[in-house]
């Protein structure tokens, strides 16, 4: 579904990413982990089109999307969330999600301005669909409240709901549970599993090791812009290089 080949980017003299490749199957949950500055967010930004990589290609469903802009990638079925929440604060919760669905709406500007019946039906359908997405992430009861007034955990899930409304085939989540408490983390965890079950490919960056190891089908470890290891959570846990560079010390700190 998503294939990344030999992706590289440098900022000035610093090589932030160096020949990173991976591919993710439909409905798979793929986690990117690595110590600070390993290039996870940079990789995310390259794949979603925010950064223009200095080398390598990104394929979505076999098509080369390397030169497409973020909004074009969104229309093709790739969307993402940010670790520092990006929502429409002045809209209600449900309007946020409806905004995600609008790229799929039809009808001319005049038809919309005149409020034709077909447009009204479409608006109602979009709202129903948006409510369904909100229900999926468990915040349907907040639909008509202002998005800017919601708590952190709600906004996190709202972002996912809005991303789902664009009907993505690849959903990229940048630290979906950063700053969440245990309950919120469990809720987001459940939402992600649910999304993957629907056949959406999920790529996520996350620092919560406990969550990643329980959730991901495969884990990709980055270190200093290079791939350190790729494998199932079990394999990664046993990988000596990973333990040395990353996990081991963390667990030591944890103890």
């Amino acid at each position: 579904m998503l294939k990344v080949e030999q992706l590289g980017i440098r900022f000035g003299g610093v090589v932030a990413l160096d020949g990173v490749s991976f591919s993710v199957a439909e409905g798979e949950i793929y986690a990117l982990i690595g110590p600070n500055g390993a290039g996870k967010t940079t990789l995310f930004n390259c794949v979603s089109g925010l950064y223009v990589p200095t080398g390598g290609s990104v394929f979505l469903d076999g098509a080369d999307i390397s030169s497409l802009k973020p909004f074009e990638r969104a229309r093709r079925g790739m969307t993402r969330t940010f670790q520092n929440l990006q929502i429409f604060e002045h809209m209600t919760v449900v309007e946020n999600v409806m905004a995600g669905a609008r790229i799929h709406e039809k009808g001319g500007i005049l038809a919309h301005m005149l409020g034709l019946r077909s447009v009204k039906a479409q608006n109602a359908a979009t709202r129903r669909q948006a409510l369904a997405h909100l229900d999926q992430v468990g915040i349907a009861d907040l639909a008509d409240q202002m998005a800017g007034a919601q708590s952190y955990g709600v906004v996190k899930r709202l972002e996912i709901a809005r991303a789902l409304a664009t009907q993505p085939r690849v959903l990229m989540l940048d630290e979906p549970v950063a700053g969440c408490n245990a309950t919120e983390t469990a809720e987001v965890d459940a939402v992600i599993r649910d999304v993957a079950r629907m056949g959406v490919t999920v790529v996520l960056v996350e620092h919560d090791m406990h969550m990643v190891m329980g959730l991901a089908d495969r884990v990709h470890v980055l270190n200093q812009g290079r791939t350190l290891a790729v494998g199932t959570p079990e394999e990664i846990r046993r990988n000596a290089a990973v333990i040395e560079a990353y996990l081991g010390v963390t667990e030591a700190a944890d103890a």
Partner: protein, 389 residues
């Protein structure tokens, strides 16, 4: 409770570089006493990433206070309508000649041009922009139309040419703002001066007149339809059209989305850069209509208005009505409210024989007050304050 904090280096490219050089893990643990582990814990340390992101928690905190403000003043335009009405009642009792049909028509006509310009400004500002060159495109466009008519071209053709001039100004504005990512304030300010110079050069004089037999043109500003002066009709029609556009169409809703959070808009599939350009072009097109009405009403266009105080009135109307300069907020109702209040105020002051200097002082004070209020109600969120990438 104990929560992990990553890095220790603040965001930004520099932080990313430093972090990249670090070998091995960079975890440390921060002990936060009594933190509920939720959003508004101020002690959470958020770092890691080279993209210059800010602390999510601070943002959420600000967001919540902004939301509280929003609830308190949910309908700023209604408050402004109320103030305008109160002022009108006051003037009606105080000033002989204020509450007459004739004066009401004068008042409406005087705010019509300002109102159309304010619709244009609102369109841009809701999308988190600003167009200080509206007066320039208005004057240059209208002058083009009149000059071409004077040279014997047909009215429709002259209008198309004027529209081309205005939209070209909007296109260049939008392109510079969207792609070169120069702040709209500076781009449009410079454009204004450029247009002023070019227009004076092209028209040889600061005053441009229509030919005396341009009846269709003169009807726009001086004619009446069913007893209603044309400027009012033009404003009303454009206001309704703009309202329907903003509130019902997908591009209209995307304008709010773009102004609210350009990054999020981009990720939901909005072509932000293209839409920025279109919004400046539409605004310039609207300003041409305002210019035609104005030039027709006075049978002249003085290019000096480009460097005059009119743009302040436009900003005043828009901000006063609740179209926040931060973007993403406001409506046509805001423009109507703002235009009404300014209209009543200036009309009353004129009847009271208050001189221009005093009127400028009053307008300046009201504008300052409105901007301060806007800033208090809608603090700019630094995290999303960028218009481009």
């Amino acid at each position: 409770m104990i929560r992990p904090a990553r890095g220790g280096v603040k965001g930004g490219v520099k932080g990313g570089v430093k972090a990249a050089q670090r070998v091995g893990p960079s975890w440390r643990w921060v002990h936060i006493a009594g933190s509920p582990g939720r959003s508004n814990s101020p002690a959470r340390v958020e770092t890691d990433n080279g993209a210059g992101m800010t602390q999510a928690d601070i943002t959420v905190g600000r967001r919540q206070s902004a939301a509280a403000g929003r609830r308190k003043f949910q309908s700023q335009e209604m408050a402004i309508f109320a103030i305008a009405a109160a002022l009108a009642v006051l003037f009606a009792f105080m000033l002989p000649g204020f509450a007459t049909i004739n004066n009401m028509l004068t008042l409406a006509r005087s705010v019509s041009v300002l109102g159309v310009l304010s619709l244009a400004m609102a369109l841009v500002v809701i999308g988190r922009g600003l167009d200080l060159s509206l007066i320039a495109s208005m004057a240059a466009g209208a002058a083009t139309v009149m000059a071409l008519q004077g040279a014997g071209y047909a009215f429709p053709l002259a209008i198309l040419a004027g529209l081309a001039v205005a939209m070209a100004i909007g296109l260049v504005n939008g392109w510079i703002i969207a792609f070169i990512e120069v702040p709209a304030l500076f781009t449009t300010l410079a454009m204004s001066l450029l247009v002023f110079g070019v227009a004076r050069f092209a028209f040889k004089s600061v005053l441009v007149y229509p030919p005396a037999d341009a009846h269709a043109f003169l009807f726009l500003g001086q004619g009446k339809l069913f007893g209603v002066p044309m400027p009012i009709i033009v404003f009303a029609v454009l206001a309704v059209a703009m309202h329907l556009f903003l509130s019902r169409t997908t591009p209209g809703r995307f304008t709010y989305a773009r102004g609210d959070n350009p990054e999020a808009a981009r990720l939901t599939g909005v072509d932000v850069r293209r839409d920025i350009i279109i919004s400046y072009m539409l605004a310039a097109g609207l300003s041409l209509l305002a210019g035609l009405v104005s030039a027709s009403a006075t049978a002249s266009m003085n290019l000096q208005i480009i460097t005059g105080t009119m743009i302040f009135d436009v900003v005043l109307v828009v901000v006063l009505g609740g179209v926040s300069l931060v973007g993403g907020r406001g409506s046509v109702l805001s423009v109507l409210a703002g235009a009404l209040l300014i209209g009543v105020l200036l009309n009353g002051l004129t009847i009271m024989n208050v001189n221009n200097q005093m009127q400028d002082i009053v307008r300046g004070l009201v504008l300052l007050g409105a901007i301060i209020l806007d800033n208090r109600l809608h603090p700019r969120d630094e995290e999303t304050a960028r218009q481009g990438d």
